[in-house]
């Protein structure tokens, strides 16, 4: 009896289940995609001056170079720490100014809050701020306001506004519109709609973005000194140029430790807030 039943179900099930046919379009799509990707790699090989053999050929040279870094020379550590502090201070002001400006600019970039003739021009302006690297802005501001940390602060500020306004507006565009409608229905003005309907929804994300930008601004600020815009970058540049690799190592260690500590602290803060 039992066997009969089993074969019965097998008979009934067999013709019904089949593998779906291969999607040819998809298979070809993948093949073409990979082909294009490899073509891109080959095309870029020469432009990027790829010479992996050089790593081996100049091996002994590099070993001598790396040896130069040890032991690190912390003789001038007070100076290094002082400059590192200035670097962080540049990042603090650059980020805070950027956040303050990115709140209104981010809202003006959001297509669910403002008409197209507002968000298009504002977005293009933000594109410009973002497209130009901090270092380029730093060189320009050194000319404008003179050598020193202020030029670096301004450079970080402008570039970060471009980045944060875009991130802020993306958060705003992803909000739930219903609470905003609820506020509007009470007879609120449009500014009040944003203050009570939009900002509470996006605040955790905004804080998270702002902290993340602070971390990357500290990293960026460590090189601003190379173009004379303040911070530890200037020292770094001098010691590398002077072949003082033991001092270079000391400065790098200070940079790595500071950046790591700030990253950890800001991550903690982010978790605490969200």
């Amino acid at each position: 009896m039992a066997e009969v039943t089993r074969s019965d179900t097998a008979d009934r099930a067999a013709p019904e289940v089949k593998l779906p046919p291969r999607d040819l379009k998809r298979t070809w799509g993948w093949a073409i995609g990979w082909g294009l990707f490899f073509a891109l790699l080959i095309w870029s090989w020469e432009g990027a001056d790829m010479r992996p053999l050089a790593l081996v050929e100049h091996g002994d040279n590099m070993i001598r170079f790396v040896r130069g870094f040890f032991p690190p020379d912390f003789h001038d550590w007070r100076l290094y720490l002082e400059e590192m502090m200035i670097t962080v201070q540049i990042a603090v002001w650059g980020t805070v100014l950027a956040v303050v400006c990115s709140v209104p600019l981010g809202i003006l970039c959001s297509e669910n809050l403002v008409p197209w003739w507002v968000y298009h021009p504002v977005r293009r302006l933000m594109d410009v701020f973002r497209a130009v690297n901090e270092m380029v802005f730093a060189m320009l501001f050194v000319v404008a306001v003179g050598l020193g940390p202020f030029a670096g602060t301004l450079a970080l500020f402008v570039h970060t506004v471009g980045v944060l306004a875009k991130l802020f507006s993306e958060a705003v565009e992803a909000i739930d519109p219903r609470p905003v409608e609820g506020i509007r229905a009470t007879g609120a003005t449009s500014v009040q709609e944003i203050v009570f309907g939009v900002i509470p929804q996006v605040l955790p994300l905004w804080i998270s973005y702002a902290l993340y930008r602070f971390e990357s601004n500290v990293r960026s600020a460590t090189v601003l000194g190379i173009v004379g815009a303040g911070g530890i970058g200037q020292l770094l540049y001098e010691v590398i140029r002077g072949f003082y690799y033991d001092q270079t190592a000391a400065i790098l260690i200070i940079i790595i430790v500071t950046v790591s500590l700030l990253d950890i602290a800001s991550q903690r803060l982010r978790k605490l807030i969200i």
Binding site: I183, T189, G197
Partner: protein, 289 residues
């Protein structure tokens, strides 16, 4: 405010709304609601209930040629909002299916936002509410039985609790008209009855005009003396809820009628409602199905 006394609560003339490819969500609506009425708005999904309510509060703008006035002030006319729309909105409380509270703010803050329409714009925008205003919000929360949850974030509350919070916000607003768009559609039966009782209480105790759209006909029977039925954007019935016949409802809802007015559930539900609230006479339809 004085100008509005004696005016109709809601007056709609020839309101139509055409969406995208020429489909009419509202088709020549004419409607007058008197002050102090409690009106149920029924109809199948897509019949235009929500659209009508959103037009009354000026959240959506209708086609040219129609007009909506509320309490003697014009909200929209000829396809455009009037300058007084914001002022009228402050006199209309709106309750939504999804509550539309700001979930990250406390219930008390949500409720106090009801004053935004009548305090100076800068003070509202900065969130500087006076002690009297907060107290008013607290009283409103007490009236809907939510005072003990005042400090909780709205996101921590159940649907029924959030909806009561939304009603409190409308009370703080001192709205003279309450528009409720499917306020109970996402609630369990017990919370749904509680919300309908509060709406009915507000209507009777404070004389606030209530227009409530409902998916389930039995709630209209139990709580609303007057019912409007919509189909394809037209009003197909306007009269006492008591006079609605099962035959008419079956025709109104067509294929959906079984789900919404099942004979069994109807009788049961109505009896329960009548037990608890009983603002309306026993529906004539009970037993005859």
């Amino acid at each position: 405010m004085g100008a509005g006394v004696g005016m109709h609560a809601i007056e709609i003339r020839q309101l139509s709304k055409t969406f995208g490819r020429g489909s009419k969500a509202l088709d020549g609506i004419d409607l007058t609601v008197q002050r102090g009425e409690m009106v149920g708005l029924i109809g199948a999904s897509g019949s235009g209930k929500s659209t009508l309510i959103r037009h009354i509060s000026g959240l959506v703008i209708g086609d040219r040629g129609g007009s909506v006035s509320v309490l003697g002030e014009t909200v929209q006319e000829d396809g455009a909002l009037t300058p007084e729309a914001r002022h009228v909105r402050s006199r209309i409380g709106v309750i939504f299916q999804q509550f539309n509270l700001v979930t990250r703010l406390s219930l008390l803050t949500n409720a106090v936002l009801g004053v935004l329409g009548r305090v100076p714009a800068w003070r509202g925008a900065l969130g500087l509410f006076t002690k009297a205003e907060r107290l008013l919000a607290m009283q409103a929360l007490h009236q809907v039985g939510m005072a003990e949850f005042a400090t909780q974030r709205a996101s921590t509350l159940s649907g029924g609790q959030q909806q009561r919070g939304a009603i409190a916000r409308a009370l703080v607003q001192q709205a003279e008209i309450l528009l409720a768009d499917e306020p109970i559609a996402s609630l369990d039966p017990k919370s749904a009855r509680r919300v309908m009782e509060i709406l009915s209480h507000i209507n009777q105790a404070f004389g606030i005009t209530v227009v409530v759209s409902l998916h389930q006909v039995d709630y209209a029977f139990a709580y609303c003396p007057r019912t409007l039925a919509l189909r394809d954007g037209r009003i197909v019935y306007d009269g006492p809820s008591r006079a609605l016949t099962p035959a008419f409802l079956t025709e109104l809802y067509g294929a959906q009628s079984e789900e919404l007015i099942l004979p069994g559930s109807w009788g049961q539900q109505s009896e329960q409602d009548v037990d608890t609230a009983a603002p309306v006479a026993q529906p004539v339809a009970v037993g005859s199905i």
